[in-house]
Assembly symmetry: D2
Homo-oligomer: 408 residues x 4
Amino acid sequence: MTDTVVMAQRRVGLWMIGACGGVSCTTALGLSALARGLTPTTGMVTALPPFAHHDLDEPTAYVLGGHDIRTGDFVTAARELHERSNVFDERTLTACAADLTAWSANIRPGVVYKPNSAITALADRTDMRQARTPREAIDAIQSDLKAFKAAHKLDQVVVVNAASTEPPFEVGEEQKSLDKLLPALDRAAPAALPTSSIYAFAAIDAGFAYVNMTPSRGATLPALEELAKKRNVPHAGQDLKTGETLVKSVLAPMFARRNLRVLSWVGHNILGNRDGQVLNDPDNKASKVKSKDALLAALLGYKPQSIVSIEYIESLDDWKTAWDHIHYEGFLGTKMMFQFTWQGCDSLLAAPLVIDLVRLAAYAQRRGESGPMPHTACFFKSPVGVPEHDFGKQFAMLEDYFCVEPPA
Amino acid sequence: MTDTVVMAQRRVGLWMIGACGGVSCTTALGLSALARGLTPTTGMVTALPPFAHHDLDEPTAYVLGGHDIRTGDFVTAARELHERSNVFDERTLTACAADLTAWSANIRPGVVYKPNSAITALADRTDMRQARTPREAIDAIQSDLKAFKAAHKLDQVVVVNAASTEPPFEVGEEQKSLDKLLPALDRAAPAALPTSSIYAFAAIDAGFAYVNMTPSRGATLPALEELAKKRNVPHAGQDLKTGETLVKSVLAPMFARRNLRVLSWVGHNILGNRDGQVLNDPDNKASKVKSKDALLAALLGYKPQSIVSIEYIESLDDWKTAWDHIHYEGFLGTKMMFQFTWQGCDSLLAAPLVIDLVRLAAYAQRRGESGPMPHTACFFKSPVGVPEHDFGKQFAMLEDYFCVEPPA
Amino acid sequence: MTDTVVMAQRRVGLWMIGACGGVSCTTALGLSALARGLTPTTGMVTALPPFAHHDLDEPTAYVLGGHDIRTGDFVTAARELHERSNVFDERTLTACAADLTAWSANIRPGVVYKPNSAITALADRTDMRQARTPREAIDAIQSDLKAFKAAHKLDQVVVVNAASTEPPFEVGEEQKSLDKLLPALDRAAPAALPTSSIYAFAAIDAGFAYVNMTPSRGATLPALEELAKKRNVPHAGQDLKTGETLVKSVLAPMFARRNLRVLSWVGHNILGNRDGQVLNDPDNKASKVKSKDALLAALLGYKPQSIVSIEYIESLDDWKTAWDHIHYEGFLGTKMMFQFTWQGCDSLLAAPLVIDLVRLAAYAQRRGESGPMPHTACFFKSPVGVPEHDFGKQFAMLEDYFCVEPPA
Amino acid sequence: MTDTVVMAQRRVGLWMIGACGGVSCTTALGLSALARGLTPTTGMVTALPPFAHHDLDEPTAYVLGGHDIRTGDFVTAARELHERSNVFDERTLTACAADLTAWSANIRPGVVYKPNSAITALADRTDMRQARTPREAIDAIQSDLKAFKAAHKLDQVVVVNAASTEPPFEVGEEQKSLDKLLPALDRAAPAALPTSSIYAFAAIDAGFAYVNMTPSRGATLPALEELAKKRNVPHAGQDLKTGETLVKSVLAPMFARRNLRVLSWVGHNILGNRDGQVLNDPDNKASKVKSKDALLAALLGYKPQSIVSIEYIESLDDWKTAWDHIHYEGFLGTKMMFQFTWQGCDSLLAAPLVIDLVRLAAYAQRRGESGPMPHTACFFKSPVGVPEHDFGKQFAMLEDYFCVEPPA
């Protein structure tokens, strides 16, 4: 049986948590446009030559679905993003409308358990389900996932967390092992699991690969990592590295290798999409800022004074704009400056990476791999289980992963 | 015999071509300040942990000298740079004045053979020597170098080209082999060798390691590479990568690895030092722009539209300021922008790298190595014999060089 | 008779030279969208409160036509600008298509007399008319203008030069008075008038107000100024001040008033539209750079070192991007820096000003004014006959013009 | 008697509150350097031609003194600023050292009454005086001022508030009239007057002109304005407009006059001097941010979304660096961007304006003027009693003031 035949037969479900957001609708539009040959693979890492001849799923393989607590669908969300942020063209929107409409029928109301106020402020679906215990939420989510798989005769399903950022969640005793966590899931008490981890548990426990593109906890709790090993499920995260932090991860090593001492690194981010709105809440913002700031000390070997701010500026919509000012000292105590501004469209930067990660996760699962996927470190601000933050070295890990692959 | 004893005994001459320029006086001041424990090693690559425990020369090992066609010395030049560019502090200048004065006594008038007009415009030494043939120039230079070595009882001498940038020089038949070059050196005809190569020939032929920090030809002619092998002399070059191009060499790989298509890369450089003045001459500028622009296609795998300009702005003195605008395309044809501004002091960025290269060249010669030094690729815009331009990968070559070193 | 009735009856022709360019199609689309109430007056100076209650023409008053040497029309040009530069929305394009189509029927092939090579490179209309003498060209142009006026029963016609920038044209004897110019118009010799002035002559001689939004000569020759007085025609120019130069004209006075000494002012402009393409030709660029640079000395009272570059970067299309670096000296000799980047869409910045100027020119003509319109100085880089370059003071001249207006 | 003779005889005291800060020492060094002919008047507004021929005091007229709660003097402070911020040159510091030393003898320990914690954190003088009532503080301050005037046989004294920024202080009943305030000064209760107003009261009540270069309350309370009228004392303030806000006050009118709709204006300021340190305290920062942000709505006629942040970045010392991002809408709903970065040395920008204001205040007092000085609006972010924020119009007010002056 040849590769081509295998690919034609394989059907992969892509389940987006936060299905009505900018990243999800861009992912949907992008997959449809790619499948129809309407757009190049620009922005997709797995489309680069070193990764091209491996058994990664073609765009035609995918069926989309997802959960959301907000009213909407892929079509409406894509149209809104088009109008507000001036992205996508009419031709692509029209050509892909049928696919997006069909996939929108797979969107199910979100399931929540004691959600954070910044999140509930966004929720407007009347059929959203309030669970009384974490277990009840997990059951409802798994039921949706399994129905999706069955209805579309899918070979695999990958679940992606593209929901809004949660406040930080500290690991307690209950999250430290599966034994301790399981009984807690039946209690109507706070804090057994944050929402992102409830979804992650549901996915992993049901045997579906899981990708976390946000700084929320997701699968990064000892009990869930244990579960992933047990269920033989690969998972990847966390917090996609798409903009300012990506640049940091190539510039900081440059300063370090030239022995130029970074005195201060100031980064101000402004953006106007829903992510920006949720991050305006100080609790939710804390997760993000931590993730954006942490890599500096790791890359430099010392901790310079640093600021990372994220502010919501409505007029910018999806256009994340960042100004970074790096003050550094060179030879004989001479202070010098480097500044950059990043003007990128967040959803358009994230969506191709989501496709990359879904391809990599499904592939890893087919190869029988489970647990964190260290070769995906180059995609994340806080790569699970990988201390390396240098983008060049992280990328080499991805190349190595494919080099050592045994021939098919 | 311990390392300490060896280092105490070794005396290394550092001969600067262009001794009265900003880089030379900063190198002199820096070496003196380092030897006196007045300044940290910030900006020196070879001071980083991976390179620290090898037998590289200590700052106390050096004696400086050099050639110049301009009147001046290390003291005057350093004082002028201090006043015009607002670098160095009074304390360091005062504390190191005696060393700089002593070393200034070793500066000899330049030797020229049919020089370019932009260069001669700078020449104001009445005792500058006009040679009638390249051979006459070489003899005069070698005589100076040998006298320097003898007078100071030096174990080694490293010759560094820190003179102003020459116009491009195309390789002809005469430069293709030593056999063809040697007779031509005796003819009073144009173009047998550009000035930088006359100096390089003199150094290498006399057995001295040679470092070319400029985009001028220097040792990069087949006949001179042959000579270096024959005389067992290591040499390194060309064109120090200190500012905008350094940043290019870390940013371009980032775009490539994320499959973001660079549509255009515009770089405007302004500076007001003597280098800027010479580069204002279109012929001389051509060498530099070519060196700054070439690496983009190599790093991206395709050639985006690009502009590199260098303009002389007197008020900036040694503060090279660059603005780069990178226009790139992401997913679904979305155009995005990245801009940076670099504000660095040229001489202060270059001088510690000169010290690094001198340390590496003297070390290589002691280890019996000859010819180009590929492990120094990370220092140069156009590394001799190394097609790699990715700064991260170039740096790994330097690390590898020291890792595979046999124990002392 | 009320104002409303008057306005309802008045019909004004707007004749664009360069009708198929970005500014012309944006002006057409804008006027149609304003007339249909689909867009606010943002960007139009004459829509501001101080100018609102004067008898300026309403958007519904206009009929458009024009000349071009390139194939195309308002519809195609607007659609192309939409697709390449990501401006305008589908809704507006669709709603205004009928108006643009109707107006496109009024576009006539251009008339040329010994045109510049950068201009002819753009010409692709097979029915373009080559005149054998300037007079022949003038006759052909006037015939088109008069036919337009008659066909649409227009009360007034305003002719706007929105064609590509010409090379500089030095005033000779023939252009110094009407007496000397008139006989020269019949000679098939070079240089009696540049193309822009042939069109200006045709318009003014036929009694039509004339606006020059480019740095080309247009009506700024003594003989043509004489003609305008004689024919009682108002005219305005030259070179719309839309971007970097506008900012210069508010920032330079700030430095002057604070007695901060500007040491150097560097401005690099990159753009990718047809204007950028024509300006890539050094001759044509010269006119523009001169116009952009001249005001600095006027505003500061001394001439700092300055650079103004304009480079064609295809990927930017209509998005003119400028980086300006201002180096200045403050108290006790302290050097400081100010930098700005301008990212504006050229056609969208120019079009509302074209509408403003057409409104002001038609109004001036109705008031019996003739010759240059000094109150429009705030619109231009090189305002005809006005030495003032301070934008604030220029704006006050416009306010004064309307304040001293006698009651209707 | 001629002007020259008058000026030679006149002796003016300049009393700095916050005498050991960066602005005070720069003012001292500048006045000494100007008096000795060592530096040009760059940065001084009153040195411009329109103001040159009026009876403003020459640099030689001044004697300096002041209060501070921190240990230090003009010499030490200037030396520290030189070393940390890389400003001033050795030559000037040496030449002026004697003047600065002499004036330092006039510095007196500060007097405080219930100070804010951010302020007291800076206080390290052991002889600082704690007053038990506002009246006690006023008496102590006046005693110092009068002693200074007598000791140096001064004709006039101008008191300048150059102390750290206080938290906002809301006007209550007690501050609304002198009648209500006077009895409250004897009570050991909080909130009768903030520290800055205690000093302002002391100065004005003693008949000395008062200038407030900070956003603190100073003389801007109804009761103090009443006092100034009664005592016939001119005063000016508040909050010097030296950097980002100055630029705002020329750019915002540009957008308004072009009818370009500002959607958002984001300004991030970073600086590392003592002002920055005090502003790191949220209470103290509030005064400053309010002052920097307020003028936008006044200049535009509507309130766009805006952010003004000020962050303390130690490595920058006195180099205030600001990034402003202005997002605006042009014709047909097109969104465009303007960004600027300001890199200026705070003390060097402020000091010449302090000298300007002291000259203007002493001059006004000699002319018998009292109360706020509206013609100084162009110097301040929140000019007392002047609603105009357009820098061009404010400057015209200063020009008018001198134009209408009766001939001497």
